[in-house]
Point group: C2
Chain length 298, copies 2
């Protein structure tokens, strides 16, 4: 499909792409760069790809360059690679926020580079290359965003790449992407971090009990509150306007429930709980979660 693919950043996402591209033979050549020597050791042991120690080398002659590192590293990365990018290359990423990234890239005014953002809605609570696996993107959505001036051909080509990795693709503007994801992903993470923080801020007397009896609900939240701290710090900062807006709406919903509890308003509570029950069914029907009880834990 592509003669050469380069991946910058080989953590959970980058290494999963690497595995999938190898498995499905989507490139004749691959090169990777990661700033961590520990990651490079792991890559050397487990893959037979070109591992670059100098970031500017990694993109040479590459037809598809994928940035799979934290959002806060993009600017430095782009400044280091821009002069070595091949003419007509597709430059993409895997980040969870798009508007800010697009601003950075537009400001660089790259010539003859097809910048098309990707966001694979895939991941686990684990990080690092050991946590990656080739089927991570299978049946998951990948959101694609690009300026109007980018050619349809190139967009198709990138969509095709994600399809071969098993993903369903969807085109969205940078702005819509950031708003939708603030609801479906960033708000849940903010809430999960807050609830786990509340539980552990608790009196020492009950510290062990909070862990022991977490199966009553808390444990579900701890999974996403265990996500990579560095990655999530970047997301919250880069998409702060949307996140603050949805957090305000969320606080209103929470206060509505709190008032109903204070007033012992059975009808109101029943109405709210019945409406939220439906959403689970819709998510399962849309193929976005398992219908096994307890996520199939038993």
């Amino acid at each position: 499909m592509f003669n050469k693919i380069s991946i910058i950043g080989c953590g959970l996402i980058g290494s999963s792409i690497l595995r999938a591209v190898e498995e499905k033979k989507l490139a004749s050549k691959m090169s990777v760069y990661d700033k961590s020597s520990k990651v490079n050791e792991y890559l050397k042991k487990n893959f037979s790809v070109e591992i670059c120690t100098n970031i500017s080398d990694v993109v040479k002659d590459s037809d598809l360059v994928i940035i799979a590192s934290p959002l806060s590293s993009y600017k430095e990365i782009l400044l280091s690679i821009q002069s070595n990018l091949k003419e007509n290359v597709i430059l993409t990423d895997t980040g969870s926020v798009k508007k800010e990234v697009n601003k950075i890239i537009c400001n660089l005014n790259l010539k003859k580079v097809n910048w098309i953002a990707s966001h694979p809605i895939a991941g686990t609570e684990y990080s690092g290359p050991e946590a990656g696996f080739a089927s991570l993107f299978k049946n998951r959505w990948c959101i694609i965003s690009a300026d109007k001036k980018v050619s349809e051909d190139k967009i198709k080509s990138l969509e095709n790449f994600w399809s071969k990795l098993g993903s369903k693709t969807k085109f969205m503007t940078f702005e819509d992407h950031d708003y939708v994801l603030s609801l479906t992903s960033h708000l849940p993470h903010a809430v999960a971090y807050s609830i786990v923080k509340t539980a552990i801020n608790n009196e020492d007397k009950f510290k062990d009990e909070v862990i022991q009896y977490s199966a009553g609900g808390l444990r579900d939240f701890t999974r996403i509150a265990a996500s990579d701290p560095l990655m999530w710090k970047d997301i919250f900062i880069d998409n702060s306007d949307n996140i603050i807006k949805v957090l305000d709406n969320y606080s209103k919903s929470l206060n509505e429930i709190k008032d109903a509890i204070k007033n012992k308003d059975s009808k109101k509570l029943l109405d709210i709980f019945s409406s939220t029950k439906k959403v689970r069914k819709e998510i399962i029907e849309a193929g976005q979660d398992t219908d096994k009880p307890d996520f199939g834990r038993k």
Copy 2:
């Protein structure tokens, strides 16, 4: 173990106890009562136990009576059964709130009845007898609470019963139970209901997107926001004082994160996210959740 066991309410929990008692042969005789004719139809088809249509009959000659119905039904149930309870019977329940229930029972001033509360920390997002299964209590905690005047023998006997069902038991005061569970279970449910409500209150334009891209975090919350509305309405009303208290603490944690996002305070965000990451590890080490990525969904 017991000559006769009676179960009042045969939904997810009651039917799972029924299945486990049958499977492990923990009683010579069993009787069940459920006010729903649909549930009774199901029980007739699937079990060979005594199905009572009159609630006062179900407890006759029973050595262990288990109330497994919504908290708001307890008072009526107790008034209906009290005169038929066998002398020296163990009366227990499976409810998620204890202090209010204990008040109701103390006020009834039942004679020669050993009231010992049980709370199996087990359940799924599904309800009804079809959703039950015998291994529901396996490796889960069951919290036991009783007044000081209840004999040690009887408490041991009930603990032994839950152990045979596969549970680990822990004795706690009614008050401590309600506080710990408000943190580990009731707060997570209030938060899950609020977040799903926020997501669906959203502009119609993004209704489908919210479902489609829920794998970014939201879907984890929808599981517990799909729990039985009637049961949860009762829990919030019966444990309102504790829940309001922890919701206030939670709002403080949330505002701390919101302020850090507004101020783009990277250090603060990293500190919070790193501290919550540890809790997941502790929960897995305590055997309270799976360590498979994504709850083993893949």
